[in-house]
């Protein structure tokens, strides 16, 4: 891969100037002629009957154009993964984020005032806020039509014989680990504008990270609303971050659609920051029971995990995260015997969604913390137990993942060397080092029937290239990566490439921005399209230059003969020749790339991803024994990325993921107290600030994945997966206490220290 001109280079993001100068148009900036402003009223109680709902005062307020309640949702429409979530609730509310009414008005201020005028009388019902309580026999059912608060989902994976392995193990470590709710904290809050034309075709400006699937969701909704055979166009404005939060459609979008339908006007619903905390879906909290064993030499013998997830009151993708938790559970390190079950349980709390890592961070926290405990029991250095059991190329894991490229061992060594592990580990002097590794899908993930992405490339008469891709730019830099790949294949400059990626009327189909798949899938798709268009160009150029196609190459928009550089023709000229000839042609190529990966079978086996991403994080901390505060002194994040298409963007993913992980590990948590969110603001939700950033070294390990575009694998999610256990392990190394409940707050550390010394708290 020598002589690459664009791929592998630190090229700034294409949209950076727009964002830096404030010219990027976010949903907040969008204004359509005649547009109305919507506002949602949420439930006052986590569990209650609505006895009376009087909207007359709101409706009478001058400037109000419509007020909707649950009664205005046609045909009992519900959305979400299990279709258990009505956009406006009626009869009963199941959480404090339940939408019960909505207003459209000519200004936002009037809409805000109007929702305050809606009168609601409730009869409060006892709520269930603990999934363990909710699982108990006789517990009140949240959804009366179900038989149990435990969702009917098949999360179970078994390989080998765990019971037999337990008997044969020389050492076993067993414990419980718990994790909290954390939310995405996107810089841009959620919002949409819904607008119908005269024929009731819908255009929706949305922040979604799944335009094709959202289009389908909205089409389904229109059908239920009685609008059959309509068109839905999804347009994305500049999106201020996603991290999984926009992987599902939300009630507010259906509410905007219903308000637009009612008023015949475009309706905008944009969240305030407080609403963003309350009414978007966080990472699901987990209670994990884990046991792992090894033989006398430290070789892992089994891993057994039972998990309970708080599903909240309704069901979105959060309930499917156990399918991704299985990836590390079955395949992080070589473990022959596996048993995993997970239960998702309805409670009167907020419902969860996708969040970077999709369950992997929760599972890895338990696995990697417990692995250190096992190493201690076995008397092996934590590095050694990881070396002994590390995954390798060519391996087929218990879930039938076919491991191709695998740089895990290199990642471990990078961490060991850069942290000076030998000299720093095991001192117990208030400073300590810890590490944890990760596996994640790195070559897409076939969770739907298709895992594909389409690309159309057209070149115009002036030699400019339009790349029309199904994948979305949500701040991660996909636009730039795709342009780099096309520039490299074609031999044109970055500035000559325009990426179009935000309109379902124009863009081809794509599953969405998830599973760290965009560089891999959209990149491969664009690569194929670029090769096709290049072949067309070369064919015409060959005729014009009188040289065989094989002798030609293109650089900086000029096609030339490799034998004689004097024989050349600019791309623009080739295009004009093609276009302006009698019976001429235009140059367009399309390519659909659907990776050769597999859906899981009934036993959850199948090669989910074409390639797997690995990484190891190592951290050195200092623990203040008197205050319990943990300070990160050094942070190494080594990632096997196949190939860095753009090292600068890639480091951005590692820094960003790492920092999100540091927040997860040390401070962030949504405090849901008996159904009420107590810290829905940035003052009390302790997301790290720029002043809290530890020194992070991003180490890029390139294992050259054959199936990836130019050897690349996904890196969108891995950055935050092993952060929390790496820090927990370092805290243990520093002061000898293990925190098994995230986040690792100073209170928990201090309490554990005092308990260890036999003091009362």
């Amino acid at each position: 891969m020598e002589g690459l001109k664009y791929v592998g280079k630190r090229i700034p993001k294409k949209d950076a100037p727009l964002k830096a100068t404030g010219q990027a148009v976010y949903i907040q900036d969008l204004k359509l002629p005649g547009m109305l402003y919507g506002k949602i009223l949420y439930s006052k109680y986590p569990h209650a009957k609505i006895l009376r709902l009087d909207v007359s005062k709101a409706a009478a307020l001058p400037g109000v154009r419509a007020v909707l309640t649950g009664a205005d949702v046609p045909n009992n429409f519900k959305f979400g993964f299990l279709k258990d979530n009505p956009p406006l609730k009626s009869g009963k509310v199941l959480s404090t984020r339940d939408e019960i009414a909505a207003v459209a008005a000519i200004t936002q201020e009037i809409a805000d005032e109007a929702v305050d005028l809606i009168e609601v009388e409730y009869e409060e019902l006892p709520g269930i806020f603990d999934p363990i309580e909710a699982m108990k026999e006789g517990a009140a059912l949240l959804h009366e039509e179900t038989k149990s608060n435990v969702l009917k989902l098949p999360w179970k994976f078994v390989n080998g014989d765990v019971e037999a392995a337990k008997k044969e193990s020389a050492f076993i470590a067993e414990d419980s680990y718990t994790t909290q709710w954390v939310t995405h904290c996107c810089l841009g809050t959620s919002g949409c504008v819904a607008s119908f034309d005269v024929s009731n075709n819908l255009t929706i400006y949305s922040n979604t990270q799944i335009p094709s699937l959202a289009q389908n969701d909205f089409l389904e909704a229109l059908k239920v609303f009685g609008l059959k055979n309509k068109r839905v166009r999804v347009i994305q404005n500049t999106i201020g971050g996603g991290f999984g939060s926009k992987l599902d459609t939300y009630a507010y979008e259906y509410i905007a659609i219903l308000l637009a339908l009612r008023t015949r006007k475009p309706v905008k619903v944009v969240f305030s920051r407080e609403e963003e905390f309350l009414a978007t879906s966080p990472r699901q909290p987990t209670i994990t029971r884990i046991s792992q064993g090894c033989d006398g030499n430290g070789k892992l013998t089994f891993r057994e995990i039972e998990m309970v997830l708080d599903n909240g009151a309704y069901t979105s993708w959060g309930a499917t995260t156990p399918s991704v938790m299985m990836v590390p559970i079955s395949s992080l390190y070589k473990v022959p015997n596996i048993k995993y079950t997970a239960k998702c349980v309805y409670t009167n709390n907020t419902y969860s969604q996708a969040f970077r890592g999709y369950g992997n961070p929760q599972a890895t926290f338990a696995i990697e913390s417990c692995l250190d405990e096992l190493a201690i029991k076995a008397g092996i250095d934590p590095v050694e137990i990881r070396r002994i059991n590390a995954n390798e190329p060519g391996e087929v894991t218990p879930q039938n993942f076919r491991i191709t490229s695998c740089g895990l061992k290199d990642c471990i060594e990078e961490v060991v060397n850069r942290l000076d592990w030998k000299n720093k580990h095991g001192k117990r002097n208030g400073r300590g080092v810890g590490m944890a590794s990760l596996i994640h899908v790195g070559g897409a993930a076939r969770v739907y029937k298709s895992d594909g992405c389409g690309t159309i490339i057209k070149v115009d008469d002036n030699g400019k290239v339009d790349v029309i891709t199904g994948s979305s730019e949500i701040g991660q830099g996909s636009e730039t990566i795709i342009a780099q790949i096309v520039a490299e294949v074609l031999g044109v400059g970055m500035d000559d490439i325009n990426v179009i990626n935000n309109d379902t009327d124009v863009c081809p189909w794509d599953v969405g921005v998830h599973a760290s798949r965009t560089t891999f899938v959209a990149g491969n798709s664009a690569l194929g399209a670029a090769e096709k268009i290049k072949a067309q160009i070369m064919e015409i150029a060959a005729k014009n230059l009188g040289e065989p196609v094989e002798a030609l190459d293109m650089q900086d928009g000029v096609i030339f003969s490799k034998n004689d550089r004097e024989k050349n023709i600019p791309l623009a000229k080739v295009l004009r020749k093609a276009h302006y000839t009698l019976g001429g042609r235009m140059l367009v190529a399309e390519n659909f790339y659907d990776p050769p990966n597999e859906n899981f079978d009934q036993t959850f086996r199948g090669n989910l991803s074409v390639a797997y991403a690995y990484g190891t994080h190592g951290v050195e901390v200092e623990v203040d024994r008197e205050t319990g505060q943990v300070k990160i002194l050094n942070y190494i994040a080594a990632h096997d990325v196949g190939k860095a298409i753009n090292p600068m963007l890639l480091e951005g993913q590692i820094y960003g993921g790492g920092l999100q992980g540091v927040g997860y590990a040390l401070g962030e948590r949504m405090i849901w107290d008996r159904g009420y969110l107590k810290n829905g603001n940035f003052l009390d939700y302790k997301m790290p600030t720029v002043r809290d950033i530890p020194p992070v070294q991003a180490v890029i390990v390139e294992s050259d994945e054959q199936a990836g575009p130019f050897g690349a694998k996904g890196i969108g999610e891995p950055g935050l997966v092993p952060t929390a256990p790496a820090i927990a392990n370092a805290v243990y190394d520093a002061v000898g206490v293990r925190i098994k409940d995230l986040p690792i707050t100073p209170e928990k550390v201090l309490r554990a220290l005092k308990e260890k010394e036999g003091q009362k708290v």
């Binding site: 201020e109 008197e626 205050t627 319990g628 401070g667 405090i671 107290d673 107590k678 810290n679 940035f682 003052l683 009390d684 302790k686 790290p688 600030t689 720029v690 002043r691 809290d692 707050t745 100073p746 209170e747 201090l750 708290v761």
Partner: protein, 325 residues
């Protein structure tokens, strides 16, 4: 957010007249970093806003005798002031830690104190620096000791329409040092889980404080203190103030009394920390658990006193203060 009139008077008298004209429904606004938040949260709906930003009489730092700081002086101006850094260090400690740079550029000490949050960062420093609050009212000016100014949560001793002109503090010699420790979960944009300020005045029986050069060391203060074991450093005067652990910022008076006149040692400070911890009344809240706050009062009181002592015995400007704190 409703709409309201906004006035920009240029003198204290004009401001008070506007307030009177509003029938008491007006609200003074200085930096606005508390007022605007309350308005947006709809916890405050003023008849009008009377800005104090253009009132020159409130924007002064006078060091001619002791320290006098106008109420409209921003946290950033306080944090950067040389004299405050040297002689009123607890105050610059606190001002430099408020919110973020953007907040410190507009937010004022007057606003911080008049807002009367138990978490106000400059409250504890003012308590240990014996500040008095200079208040302008209809019948002229009066001065109230800061300890009597705080009445309770969000309550201060201000009559209707009265304006805080500024804060006056006595002069302190180089034998006095002070420090404020803000205990937070984040390095910026955070209110204190608790705050501790301490001021000490130190005397060495018979001697000047040792050879300064020898003290230009990055050694930990505990070790430095050991060098003075034979010399007997005595704590002549002391103040300790605690924030967030009571309904209002409070002095830990028992702890102060126990410290005064004693020969300094780290062991003594441990005891003082324990006394301070027994004096406070922390509560459980989402921002912190009571037991933890109380325990941190113990730990941080000790540390704040150590820091204040250190600032007397190692006042070296060149390696100060990043060296240690």
């Amino acid at each position: 957010m409703g709409s309201f009139e906004y006035y920009k008077p240029e003198s204290v008298a004009e401001a008070m007249a506007l307030m009177e004209g509003s029938g008491g429904k007006g609200v003074y606004i200085s930096g606005g970093t508390d007022v605007m938040v309350l308005i947006r949260q709809r916890k405050l709906s003023p008849g009008c806003l009377i800005s104090l930003r253009n009132v020159r009489d409130l924007d002064y730092v006078d060091t001619s005798s002791g320290l006098a700081v106008g109420s409209a002086v921003t946290h950033n101006a306080i944090a950067k002031n040389d004299l405050i850094q040297k002689r009123y260090t607890a105050l610059s400690d606190a001002a430099s830690k408020v919110g973020s740079l953007q907040i410190r550029n507009v937010a004022t000490m007057g606003g911080n104190i008049c807002n009367a949050a138990p978490s106000a960062d400059t409250a504890c420093p003012l308590l240990v620096l014996d500040a008095s609050v200079v208040i302008a009212g209809k019948s002229g000016e009066r001065a109230v000791p800061i300890d009597e100014f705080f009445l309770g949560p969000n309550k201060v001793a201000l009559g209707p329409g009265e304006i805080v002109k500024g804060f006056a503090m006595p002069a302190f010699s180089e034998k006095t040092g002070s420090a404020y420790i803000k205990h937070t979960r984040r390095q910026a944009m955070d209110l204190p889980m608790l705050g501790v300020a301490a001021r000490v005045t130190i005397r060495i029986d018979g001697n000047e404080i040792g050879c300064r050069d020898a003290l230009c060391t990055i050694d930990n203060i505990s070790n430095v203190l050991k060098r003075f074991e034979d010399e007997k450093l005595v704590c002549e005067d002391a103040r300790i103030a605690l924030g967030v652990v009571a309904p209002r910022p409070m002095r830990a008076k028992k702890a102060e009394t126990a410290l005064k006149g004693k020969v300094i040692s780290e062991g003594l400070f441990e005891e003082i920390g324990e006394i301070a911890a027994s004096e406070c009344q922390p509560r459980d809240s989402i921002r912190g658990e009571a037991w933890y706050r109380r325990d941190m009062v113990r730990v941080l009181t000790k540390r704040a006193i150590l820091r204040a002592v250190d600032r007397v015995i190692r006042p070296d400007d060149t390696i100060w203060p990043e060296r240690l704190w």
